[in-house]
């Protein structure tokens, strides 16, 4: 499932489109500690986090992470949006909290898998 499709199916709004259009997400990491996200990062990963600061986009940039999902309907600050746009990271905002967002992602990905199998 691509990042765009995933955003659509979990009801998240895409703030900045990524350059990695069409990248299939195969790893999702949720967390609020930069060190954890840094360690988990991969180039097919989506990070889900409460952290609406520029550091998350920096981590995405350094680790070639194609997508970030903020939760709880937070508005990313201008720095973050600019950085995401500059580096081509897809930035989406989910209207619900971290836990609920992860649940929706899980459902979306497993339905997709079931559909394929």
């Amino acid at each position: 499932m691509t990042l765009e499709q995933l955003a659509d199916s979990i009801g998240a709004a895409v703030q900045t489109p990524g350059t990695g259009t069409g990248i299939d997400v195969d790893q999702v990491y949720a967390g609020d500690r930069i060190s954890d996200l840094l360690n988990a990062a991969g180039d097919h990963a989506l990070l889900v986090s409460n952290l609406a600061g520029g550091h998350l986009t920096r981590v995405a940039e350094l680790m070639d992470i194609p997508g970030i999902c903020l939760v709880q309907g937070q508005t990313p600050d201008a720095d973050m949006t600019a950085a995401a746009r500059g580096h081509g990271t897809l930035l989406m905002v989910s209207p619900v909290g971290l836990f609920e967002t992860c649940g929706r992602i899980y459902r979306a990905l497993s339905q997709r898998e079931a559909g394929q199998g």
Partner: protein, 522 residues
Amino acid sequence: MNAVACTIQGGDYAHGGAASQRLKEQLKKIGAEPAVIRRAMIAAYEAEMNVVIHAQRGEFRARIENGQLDVQVIDQGPGLPDVEQALQPGYSTASARARELGFGAGMGLPNIRKATDDLQIESTPGEGTSLRFSIRLRPSALYGEGRHSVQVFPERCRSCFRCLRSCPTQALRVHQGKPQVLDYLCVDCGACQRVCPTGALALAEPHAQLTPAPDVTLVVPPAALAQFGPGVPPQRVLDELEAMGFAGVLVTAAWEEALRAAVREWAAGGNAPLPVISPVCPAVVNLIETRFPALIPHLAPFLSPLEAIRETTAAKRLVFVVACPCQRSALLAGTLQPDRDIIPLENLRSAVAPRLAEQPAGAVRAFTTPQEVDTPPLPLVVSGIHEVAALFELIENAQAPDISVVEPYACHPPGFGSPLLSADPHLAAYRWRAATPAGDARATAVRRPGDYRPRPGLRLDEDMARAVRKLGRIDRLARSLPGDNCGLCGAPTCAALAEDIVLGRTTQEACVRQPSRPKEAP
């Protein structure tokens, strides 16, 4: 090369990560593998953010050299009262602000340690912290292209398999009629080149021609001067080279002598376990780092003679005549370029031979036969890569307690057994000894800047779980093979074949000895 050098401001969260970003760009430029870049970024970003979070300011310096990334981050800050404690997961002294931003999980230093091959932290409370880490740029094939200097010309191979048994580290395979040198095992000793009858294994290209120029100082090994037959003493060749229009010609023999003296002193100084092993031959150093890592403390910490010349000679441009693959690799670890600065022995020979034939030997300068100085302790000179390996096994088993200095050479006779030498090596060695040109007062031994390091072997897989599974498959497969190491499959041993099959270098059908093909156990 210096990759990044910049200042980090404490508290400047907005620019935190900028130094890491610059490092990433450099690593991408040199073609580092994505997995390596990821590890470098984890370590660099954590180290950089540590300065932003905790210190007033810091310096971030990254160097890329000898296939390795070295990063140093020095800050002026509160320092760490207890480094060991700081390395424990979960320990953090970060401010509330840092924690709000997602930092201060106490995972920074543990993350750095996990992502790097070497980490050193020195800290003085109240002054600051110095953090240094290294990452080898090619985890699976550290000594990859350019790091060893044996090149394969597959179209010349006739599958005679002589190379398989000649290799002291089992670095060779001949699958599907093509020789393959496993980068992480090759020590550049040239043994395969010596036995290859068709030139399918040869000194790596590119290389330069002997082109005299007034700004070029030529560096030549004794073997290059002693290869022209009985009527041409080494001094004559030296004179001829000087007359061709080089700025100067340096003979490595004097640097070998300087190294010998330095190693003798090092052994006498009681700094290291005996016997002290001379690093005169880069291939032997590689052999120790690959197959005898337990002997690393025995290696005297000096550069090889060629490297010493490269590091200390104040010449405008140095061009090296090399006699063997290991010399080429050792020299290229610096900034020299093969197509400009490296001349194989044969290119010198073909350029000088016609001049030696044309001109009478009338103007030969006087030369001296040096007095052999037998300063104790007498070094044990051992030559031939297999003989050297056999001796190292004895040393490992503490069976050579009476030896204090070993001077090992991959080739036999020492320094003259190059596969590129066209003359008989023993005759060449004799002719050199019988008429050695005068020494060189500039010669000196040079301390090695970095430490010797054991070479990491092959990583079966970047992913640990997959690597373990592969290891299990190799093991099961090896047990199902005949086990007599016949070598007819193109791998030196059955165990090596099992690894080749699992890593996809060849197929199960390669084993010709079993009536029923080997089956991988389920």
